[in-house]
Amino acid sequence: MIANTVVFVAVALSLMSFAALYRAYRGPGAADRVVAINVIVTKVNAIIVLIALVSAQASYVNVALVYAMIGFIATIGVAKYVLRGKLG
């Protein structure tokens, strides 16, 4: 029962991340796109952990941690570029 629910949640999250990708394509400003990509990163994080646990590969969980760090650095970089006009 739980494994089926986990697969259902993973499929639902992937469909919702496509819906968020529409906002990243359409969004009028840079901040809209950054917010949409932040949401997509969080959803892919949850999908990675769900797939790692349902396929019994426990070491895949570490991939989610690295992916969360990459998404955070990307968000901070784009926000800083919007704020200052340059990086660094």
Binding site: I2, L13, V34, N38, N45, A46, V49, V82
Partner: protein
């Protein structure tokens, strides 16, 4: 004992579906809200509460092990970094909008 296990399974499934519901709410807010700040208001909620409920359900499913500790580390990392990122995006967008307003005001003053 069997009843306890069934109750645990029901709690885990409810946590997973509740997290999916909050992700859905955040996605609808991201698509339908009119402004950047309104969109951020919806999506930060889906970050903290949706991921929190899904990961807590998975931790309950795995029991006490290194995998659940790893999942809790990821959860704490997301809970620390996502409000920070949202705060920084809001700050940069606010600065940009206020700078544009200031430029428009000075332009009107000259003409």
């Amino acid at each position: 004992m069997a009843i306890l296990r069934i109750l645990m399974d029901i709690i885990i499934v409810l946590l997973l579906l509740g997290g999916t519901f909050f992700f859905f709410v955040g996605t609808v807010g991201l698509l339908r809200m009119p402004d950047v700040f309104c969109r951020m208001h919806a999506t930060t909620k889906c970050d903290t509460l949706g991921v929190g409920m899904i990961f807590f359900g998975l931790v309950l499913w795995q029991g006490v092990s290194f995998v659940s500790l790893n999942i809790l580390v990821i959860l704490v990392f997301i809970w620390l970094t996502n409000p920070t990122a949202a705060h920084y995006i809001a700050k940069s967008e606010y600065e940009r909008i206020s700078n544009e307003d200031k430029k428009e005001e000075t332009g009107h003053g000259r003409t």
